[in-house]
Symmetry: C2
Subunit: 419 residues, 2 copies
């Protein structure tokens, strides 16, 4: 049995995702597809535009068989941790045989080579890295140069155009991290990459049938031209998005949580901010100071941002503050082997045999009814991780436009989506 | 030199306050008047309708000479602690000779007798209290009966109508607490009471020239009929209120802080809620549960309220959660002797000689420029108390209608008001 695994956010599910899914199905021809999807907070440190159940349904309606939630402790993290969390979640299923991800280059070989260099850090590579850093380059710049030079010297050279496609794209960075995680976890899952089409990952503007999720969210938040959004999404997922927005379940953004986010940082002692994931030496002062100076979240971001402390990193730190994600907790989760459960958000009826397989093979507990999580999750670390997901939902809900959906504990009251 | 002290909230300053101030001036004929005023959170556990600087200015424009801030650690507390904080603040000035407060009864003697019984708790009173409690009466009911019976037996009997005026009014309850605090702190300040006129303290509806502050706030939040509000306030303070509201500085209510309040409780572990001031056995569970169930703050209050856990108590607990006011901190402040500084919000130019007197006689440091508080406040407990005031302002600001006023650290940027 072949089971395809995909790591995604589907925020929201659009034509680019559809293309990736279809191409993967054609190439791999799996019996089933499982998606590990971010819950309420995404890799860029943002509240998801609509809730995780709606987004899971989007995927199911477009042919995915099971959607499992990437725990919040991994979903709003840097590419490396996000990818590790996603890959381990797929490893833990015990049934996923293939993984497919997008990349600009569309070839697995050069990505795998870079991943291996980064995972192993061979001494010649490290020496090159040190040399470039000593020349005063920033860490990402130095690393890029060191990889390129190391690959050339080792006879793994890439052509200039290949290289350009690799380094100038968020997707390839994620692809490399997926490959690194597969390699490091000694995974038996076979990686496949699909060349991305259309708009770049974080393009701001709509561009016809294949627009980025960022562009679709911007369109929704600014002009809200349903026609142009409709062109960029499969109809099934467009309907879900439109209906969710019209009923007041969305859109949700970090600005919807402005009072909570600014209030949280204003309330937190420096000593606590310091221990949050991604806060390195002295950044706690800057964050606190800017949260006091700023009247709005936008102003906070504008004040706090520097070349070194980019938007996404600051956004992630705000989410870490909100959810109490400290370095120490992340380290504890890492020692425990990453995601500690498979929380199923939804499945298609045709996936029932796969669910049985999953129950037999999964290496971590499966949660279908969250109300029982205390019984299902025996280890304290698993419960700690799940408590973060519950908190994420309870705080995310406070940013939903219609107050009717702001009630807490939706993790225990929302039904699993069956399509 | 005679200096009149008043403990107030002026939320907002209205004709009833004006009447009380004028009557006190006539009766006592002091050289100066100092008011100890709640900052951003009030005795009923509510965000003040406009900020403390605007409210201080209202008092100054109406004849008060100096306004000092009652620290937030004391302002949103039960009558007993609120009164203790206010009285100690006046004691600490070293210059206040008289205190005047309103009461329905308008006579100091019976109030002082009750205060003394409550402060001393003589054995016969305790026995009566126990007897009524054993009969199944609630604590306030049993205490009322025990006081009345004890007073009668000791020959301090009140007439029925006096008694009715005492027990059925929030102001008399506060008056008794002021007297208790004066007695317990062995204060040399002479108490005077002015009979209240017009609307009861917490009347909900406007009633002409003397309306309660509650009624004025309700009017402002609901119909916003400036004409009827204008009739209930001295013109100088009406202008300040109207201008503040029109410029977007107010109105602020607990609902303005809904996301922060619900989010705070949703985020707090039960163990932490348990340690908050006013949370007694098991109440932490109810509070947490209701904050999860409720979609709005109003819904939270409706769900959480019982005969035992009244609105004001629940509101206070929310504010304690927001500001981190635990039983342990309150106890530490009590051991340190209550308010640890005199933070001056504003003064009238004619009070400059009084300010000099204050500097010579005050038993705690005087803060006129908060930026220097670290130098001025030597004791850690004083700084801890002041940090709560700063936090109160920083979180209160997030609820101000116009985002321009949501910037933090206004305690360090707003100028002292000089009238």
């Amino acid at each position: 049995m072949k089971v395809l695994g995909i790591i995604a956010e589907y925020n929201p599910f659009h034509n680019g995702h559809m293309y990736h899914l279809k191409s993967s199905l054609e190439l791999i021809d799996p019996d089933y597809t499982i998606v590990a999807m971010s819950g309420h907070f995404t890799q860029r440190g943002e509240a998801a535009i609509i809730d995780k159940w709606e987004r899971a349904e989007m995927a199911l309606k477009n042919g995915v068989d099971i959607v499992v939630e990437l725990p919040a402790a991994y979903s709003s993290q840097t590419a490396e941790l996000f990818a590790y969390g996603g890959v381990q979640l797929l490893n833990h299923t015990g049934v996923v045989t293939h993984i497919s991800f997008g990349s600009e280059i569309g070839q697995i070989q050069p990505l795998a080579e870079i991943a291996r260099i980064l995972a192993d850090e061979p001494p010649p590579f490290k020496a090159l890295l040190k040399q470039y850093l000593d020349q005063g380059l920033s860490f990402p710049q130095a690393r890029h140069r060191a990889i390129k030079e190391h690959a050339k010297r080792s006879g793994l050279g890439f052509s200039e155009s290949q290289w350009e496609k690799i380094i100038n794209s968020s997707n390839s960075i994620l692809a490399i991290e997926y490959l690194k995680a597969l390699y490091r976890t000694n995974s038996s899952i076979i990686p496949v990459t699909i060349q991305r089409i259309g708009a770049p990952y974080n393009a701001q503007e709509m561009s016809g049938e294949v627009s980025s999720a960022t562009a679709i969210r911007n369109e929704l938040l600014r002009q809200k031209c349903w026609d142009s959004i409709s062109r960029a999404m499969p109809q099934a997922s467009f309907k879900i998005l439109k209906c969710a927005v019209e009923s007041g379940k969305g859109p949700v953004t970090n600005s919807s949580l402005e009072q909570l986010l600014l209030g949280k940082i204003r309330s937190m002692p420096l000593e606590e901010i310091k221990h949050l994931m991604d806060v390195d030496e002295g950044l706690e002062n800057r964050i606190k100071e800017c949260a006091l100076k700023a009247a709005t979240l936008d102003e906070f971001m504008a004040l706090a941002k520097t070349r070194r402390y980019v938007y996404t990193r600051l956004q992630r730190i705000l989410i870490h503050a909100l959810l109490g994600i400290t370095r120490e907790r992340v380290e504890r989760f890492r020692r425990a082997g990453g995601p500690q459960y498979l929380r199923i958000l939804g499945f298609s009826k045709r996936a029932i045999p796969l669910l049985k397989q999953l129950k037999q093979n999964a290496r971590v507990p499966i949660i279908t009814k969250a109300a029982h999580y205390h019984r299902i999750l025996e280890s304290p670390v698993a419960r700690e991780m799940f408590d973060i997901d519950v908190l994420a939902t309870n705080l995310y809900s406070l940013g939903i436009p219609d107050p009717r959906y702001r009630r807490g504990n939706r993790d225990f009251t929302e039904k699993i989506r069956i399509v």
